[in-house]
Symmetry: D2
Subunit: 339 residues, 4 copies
């Protein structure tokens, strides 16, 4: 960390800051350069509250230099590869994973029918929601544990690892019994109890970016899980909130190359929640593959208009077929094969 | 709800939509006007997924007409007044409540000292955090139940109702034993398990707006609590995330008159989290009072630089004195007295 | 337009609104349905200020139904194809155009060298700035008319149509003498004098989206030009301003399928301004092609570190080669050929 | 400027960066500290493109330290006071200016009636639009020079300085003949030709913040005018674009204390464009005064429903009376008098 002062050689201020750094954070510091304006704080300054230093009268500028996350950082390693059942691996260079399934598991028959559809067109992971966060209090909330049982069964039948969302610690306990990947929704990205529980989890986590989260906050949320001892985290970009009106969320695809430089964690794109409209998802999926994502997670449904949740964004078989054709074509052009 | 079609008298489409509305949502509907383009769906259409209808080929436009929240709506009543211990009431026209205290309860002595400071300058509710959500995994997480005990004791000593934040259902159980108001943080605004638990709570709730939440989502979150049976919800605006860089969050004060028209719930402003800098909080507090808020919640600390969390935004005694002078002056000009 | 009232059969209000619509906008209107709450305003309501009606006490909801732009609307025609010199056409299904060149024209030699680079790797339109809008007053402002002369010469030598940006009406006069396409920068998207002048222009216009413009405002800006008599407008998405920090602007690629439904105008993507970093542009370019853009506009420079403007985002030959390889691969997968 | 490298003592990289700084920007630089990672660039680094340095492989972090604007900076002086005719001064500590009038000048009679209304309730500057930027091409564009003549006449009759908006250089010529303050609209904040022309202007300028402009960009736009030789610039906050839907623009009042620290220029608030609804403007005006603005600019109209532009946000006499009562009360509480 570098701290630049307004005045040269302001000894009382220098002493005050050095004492504060030492006493509050245990950090040594020293003046560098000849004009007595720059204080360098070497070593780990993750704990130092940068705003506290900035707000001290007489401080002009503070540069943390290092990122506040360590385990998630690309400086640590190049790529994390996550191995799942049925021979599926996520994060390997040159492969692409497609996860597909219904927003909500509505019944065993509906899930089975959807899983068959997912498998038929090339998805290798089956998704399905058993617990649904709903923005209003008057909507369908999911089948709960029964849904997870159906999901496990469908995964076994169609030979696909399965993923479902947990919204609290108790649900994570259930997930460990039934699923291969546990998903954290965008609204829970900073639910720290949940993140801590996932750190102790022995199954991989798909962490969705909060709709107003910076990339730094996103990686700090991943850091929570990694710091707890679970190394298998994948990041999922699903659209951020902006002033745009025609599109539900703004899919920040440009963050993919930025994330690739910052972290070794696999990057998955969710085009369904961003687009909000089934007929825009094939286009968005192709772009996601082209920009270099490691995978996609897509909502499909045999009869979207009858879906109990998120019908407007679920692909019917015609759209799903078109979507997978596009994905395959772009993956081919990128020299990638479907995991 | 009004649905407008692209073409006149498109009978197959009209039949399809009417059947869907009937079958999926139990809604009757009929054509109005003479050109066969407008379908009216009378009555409660809260359950109808507006995007599902909009996405149907041949539909040009859909207007829900009614707001999707009912209990929180201003159409229901004019104002909610929330009665607390020590004679404090929130939401009464003509009064203003000031809640103050430390971000984190660090020790019994620190809390006592801060409570004395709060009381001395006119705060009537004491705030203090016992469980802290922290963006990074390496920071102070609060004293837990011990903190709540200190808070209850300080509230009794200084004759102030107390408020603290709960992040999960188990913490709400504790809150019911120790505090007068339970706070929901911005990052938990859509934590539905928590909202449902608070609906069963018998103490008032201060619900903070999520940093990317629309006012509709904010009111739907309040609706969750109200629908659970707890009528005492106050809304807290604490800044939204925008592209602004100099200010930590953009305090959307303009939403106060908008909320006042939409809902009967009291509106509290948190200038501390928005401004992020102690020296800007007095100005922001005055503006909050002037625009018509029912109250403020402000972070103070005897020695901000030593605070274990949020030190940069905590007011020391000098700033706190100045802040309360400004608040009193503006409240006076508004014909309001401190609750 | 449909206007819904709060109360049934509120005859004085109905009369007031009908008179206002008639007197101020010349619009006839009538009640539809049986409960006396819905006023229909048939025909063109482009002129009606929707907020004025919404703000009338007793009005619950107003739905314009029709989009406020007519000439730019997809309902008018399917696709606009823009024919340029040297056999280049923009907007044809199945083709992709790549425009490339330096941000600023710095000298005849620099432009010639860059044009050779553009041509060599497959660009078919040459870009080059002669007038530069700069955010601070102390930066390089471009070569002016001399720059345009060099541009015209290079275009002829390398057999490429050329594009340059005009910031005011006088510059448009010059553009008509030297270039094939005139560009409107994001900061001028709502410079109405300029748009009106371009409406009288006889050369095609590339209109960049303002960094806080909604798609409706973007299409209304295009409508200004179309309404003036110039049918050859192409839309250029170049990133919007959001809270994201790591990436300069958030490239709203998800707006491409949305725009495709709303308008017949060709859609060009500018990955350079969005990414801001040369090494992210190849990735972003591939995604732009994959989502279905009609073309790209990319900044290149033989020696980016020496560039007089926008060096950080200019591609050197190595990055440019890689970028075009990616573009070609994805275009191939999409069944498109380079125009 | 401080540049931190990834590796210690990377001599080839150090040499490369030092040469680039010297050759491209004429800047000397030297290593500070003992680990060979920090390059200091003393003196004025306004010209250095920070992103260019950041993008160099091996550079970890760059801190500009100094702000890129000089003349607008608070470090230069404490406050700018702008003297106008009829004894009005803007920017004096302890005074508040209220500018009011119609959005558009529609006729001599309408302006006279509105000016009387403005004067009667305490406004001291008269506003009125003669050239109107309109988002769609089919709307009223203003009376032009005739409007300015009416404005000048009304100003003389009611003894108020007058303000009107110019959208291009030719209009500035006219403004110099007729008005006391020339206004730059939000959409022209980065219209550099206009800013340069205003720098040569001999009348004060009210510069509105662009709806997606950072404070740094806002101050750089002011710097353009100041650098041209016109010292009398006032800044006007009018709402930024965010995801909020109920309120037209998000009025970033929190930027007022931030701007006060950054600059000596007077700060004016436009509550009319932000709120968009007449009935919310009194509340917003009070908050603007309470947060410490130097003035307000408000749209009023004798009969808002008949206004040719911006009717929804114009105050009728009843709202205007209420608005000024609130402004006076808060100004009184702040110890300010109306200028």
């Amino acid at each position: 960390m570098l701290i630049v002062l307004r005045q040269k050689n302001d000894q009382p201020l220098i002493t005050h800051i050095q004492n504060l750094l030492k006493k509050k954070y245990g950090c040594e510091s020293h003046i560098i350069g000849s004009n007595g304006r720059v204080i360098a704080v070497p070593g780990d300054t993750t704990m130092v509250e940068i705003d506290l230093i900035k707000n001290i009268e007489g401080v002009r500028s503070v540069d943390r230099v290092d990122r506040p996350y360590k385990l998630a950082s690309r400086e640590r390693k190049d790529r994390t590869e996550i191995k799942l059942s049925h021979g599926v691996t996520i994060g390997t260079r040159g492969t692409l994973v497609v996860m597909a399934g219904p927003c909500s598991i509505e019944s065993e028959a509906q899930l089975d029918e959807t899983a068959a559809l997912a498998k038929k067109h090339g998805a290798t992971v089956l998704r399905g929601g058993a617990f649904k966060p709903r923005t209003g209090p008057y909507a369908f909330n999911g089948l709960g544990e029964d849904g997870l049982k159906f999901l496990k069964k469908a995964g076994e039948k169609y030979e696909m690892p399965v993923i479902s969302e947990a919204m609290n610690e108790a649900q994570v306990d259930l997930m460990e019994k039934y699923v291969d990947i546990v998903q954290v929704g965008a609204r829970n990205m900073q639910n720290y109890d949940l993140l801590r529980r996932l750190g102790k989890c022995r199954i991989p986590v798909l962490l969705k970016r909060g709709l107003a989260a910076t990339l730094e906050e996103f990686l700090l949320a991943a850091e929570y899980i990694l710091a707890g001892g679970n190394p298998d985290v994948m990041l999922c970009e699903r659209g951020i909130r902006t002033f745009e009106e025609e599109v539900r969320f703004t899919l920040a695809l440009g963050s993919v190359p930025a994330l690739r430089e910052l972290t070794h964690l696999p990057i998955i794109i969710d085009p369904s929640h961003a687009a909000g409209k089934a007929r825009w998802i094939a286009d968005t999926s192709r772009a996601s593959v082209a920009i270099g994502a490691d995978g996609l997670i897509i909502e499909i449904h045999p009869r979207p208009e009858e879906a109990l949740s998120d019908g407007p964004q679920a692909l019917d078989e015609a759209h799903w077929t078109e979507c997978m054709e596009g994905i395959r074509a772009i993956a081919g052009a990128m020299g990638k094969k479907l995991a």
